[in-house]
């Protein structure tokens, strides 16, 4: 069953632009990305949108639909009323290249700043032996498809551009937690999580968890455990004393 839907899409380049109105056909079973493609084909051939897999696994088509960060390929039109006007804008935290396409290089910069996996000296690839229980915590974080919606929605940088140099965002704080929990990683990441990547900026309001399309419990399983590990290192005199007296093993 088809109907005509009202869309408002942000169009412009390098930040300057405005919301433009469209009326477009919608068919049963379609998602928002289908409608954007139909607009390209019928009314706005120069409308820019980034997409790739159309299966919710590449993380390319992140936009904001009615103000909420969503993957446009996974947002069914059936979740909206037929008379509802659907507003689609680019992710707000990142600079716009054109229309719905943003420049997400902030995220690649932050990714490069996280030191890579650091195994113990003398242990070579192929010699790692790990129990499943030891690795399954960090395996949850490997589901990340890098859509960067968590970094987009995080108010620390979304509402405060000036915090970008100091704050790596939930995506990369989760990466640090993943490595810190890894049984074979020996790099000291606690000090750096707080001082270099801005873990202290996180006020655990859980928006990253709310928008994650992979349903990763970013706050409860990565950011808060990492905050507790940082508290061990920097803010808990008893743990510090215990580590000196008993030489606690991890």
């Amino acid at each position: 069953m088809s109907y005509k839907a009202k869309f408002r899409i942000w169009r412009g380049e390098s930040g300057e632009g405005k919301l433009e109105d469209f009326t477009v056909e919608v068919n049963e079973g379609e998602v928002v990305l289908d409608i954007i493609h139909r607009l390209q084909a019928t009314q706005a051939p120069d409308l820019a949108v980034r997409w790739n897999c159309k299966a919710g696994k590449c993380g390319s088509c992140s936009v904001e639909i009615n103000g909420k960060p969503r993957l446009s390929c996974m947002t069914r039109m059936s979740t909206f009323a037929e008379d509802e006007t659907i507003t689609v804008t680019p992710m707000r935290t990142f600079p716009v290249i054109k229309d719905l396409v943003t420049d997400v290089s902030y995220n690649y910069q932050k990714a490069r700043e996280v030191p890579s996996f650091t195994p113990p000296e003398g242990v070579r690839p192929g010699e790692y032996r790990m129990q499943q229980v030891d690795v399954e915590r960090s395996q949850e974080f490997r589901k990340c498809i890098e859509c960067f919606m968590c970094n987009n929605v995080c108010h620390v940088v979304r509402d405060h551009e000036e915090n970008k140099p100091a704050f790596s965002g939930p995506r990369f704080l989760m990466r640090i937690a993943e490595l810190d929990m890894h049984p074979y990683d020996v790099a000291d990441r606690k000090e750096s999580a707080q001082e270099d990547h801005g873990l202290g900026y996180c006020n655990i309001t859980k928006c990253c968890t709310e928008v994650c399309p992979e349903h990763i419990k970013i706050t409860d399983n990565a950011l808060i455990p990492m905050k507790e590990r940082v508290a061990d290192r920097k803010y808990d005199p008893l743990v510090w004393l215990g580590s000196k007296i008993f030489k606690r093993a991890k």
Binding site: W10, G12, S14, G15, E16, G17, L19, E64, N66, G67, K68, P69, E84, T87, T89, P90, R92, T93, F94, P95, V96, I97, T102, D103, Q131, V133, D134, V153, H155, V156, R158, D159, H160, E161, D180, M181, H182, P183, D185, G200, Y201, C202, N203, I204, T205, K206, C207, V211, D220, I224, P225, K227, E228, R229, A231, D232, K234, Y235, D236, K250
Partner: protein, 262 residues
């Protein structure tokens, strides 16, 4: 090194959208309800500290347990008759103890989310612009003090044990009344909330990288993780239960509730 593409022009401009949010749902409803819920708890807490009707045998109002002073209002509410604070202390006795469970909730990761959103609007809801010009989060004083949450957890565990002891005393008392079961339910909810705390989860085994070397701690962590997954629900249930149980005991003590087996 050969560069095959020219440098991209500097892109600094975000999409200029002049409204605070484009959300069309009732995003303001949850922070409003949370604001009202937490405010009611604060107002009730202040009243309970000042109210002196805290004991009606065998019930001790949770907000007054344990009473640590020699003041007359503590009669019946002292733990084993213990009164380490002498008669020089003239302020409400609840002030001596409520800072500990209060601090536990104030620094709790769930409550932090709640009041940062509903009281400080930072942010009120996801993808809704916050009203503050500057933001430093928990990087400096006073909010950096949130990192002492684990110390409040230790004390909260002690308070939970005392409330459980009080509830058991009420349940073994003959004849048993409705208040005994209210206190017992409250003790269970308080323990569920306290043991599901993120700091407890970290202390049991969250700080380890090798669960397999510590099977008992891993099992404890698994149990705490199950509670922790519903920490929000435990937080609200225990907050209302402690308020409800406290009010019930005070109403019995005042004689307002006086039906048989109350």
């Amino acid at each position: 090194m050969t560069q095959t593409t020219p440098d991209a022009p500097a892109r600094k401009q975000r999409a200029q959208v002049k409204v605070r949010t484009l959300r069309t749902d009732r995003w303001w409803l949850t922070p409003l309800l949370v604001f009202l819920g937490l405010s009611s708890f604060l107002i009730y807490g202040v009243w309970a500290i000042l109210d002196t009707s805290n004991f009606a045998e065998p019930y001790i109002a949770p907000f007054a347990a344990p009473c640590l002073t020699t003041q007359e209002v503590c009669d019946g509410a002292r733990l084993f008759g213990w009164a380490p604070v002498g008669d020089w202390y003239a302020l409400p006795p609840g002030l001596l103890i409520l800072g500990l469970p209060g601090g536990f909730r104030l620094t709790c990761y769930y409550y932090r989310k709640s009041y940062y959103r509903s009281f400080w609007l930072s942010p009120a809801a996801c993808a809704v612009q916050e009203p503050h010009g500057k933001y430093t989060g928990e990087t400096r004083f006073p909010l950096i003090m949130q990192n002492i949450h684990r110390y409040f957890f230790y004390f909260a565990l002690l308070i939970g044990a005392i409330l459980t002891y009080d509830a058991v005393l009420a349940v073994v008392h003959k004849p048993i009344g409705l208040g005994s079961w209210i206190l017992m339910l409250n003790a269970v909810l308080i323990l569920g909330y306290t043991l599901g705390c993120h700091s407890c989860r970290h202390i049991t085994a969250g700080r380890l990288n090798h669960f397999s070397r510590h099977p008992l701690r891993y099992r404890a962590w698994t149990f705490v993780s199950k509670l922790n997954a519903k920490h929000q629900q435990w937080a609200w249930a225990s907050m209302f239960s402690v308020m409800g149980a406290d009010l019930y005991v005070r109403l019995v003590a005042k004689g307002i509730i006086a039906f048989p087996f109350a």
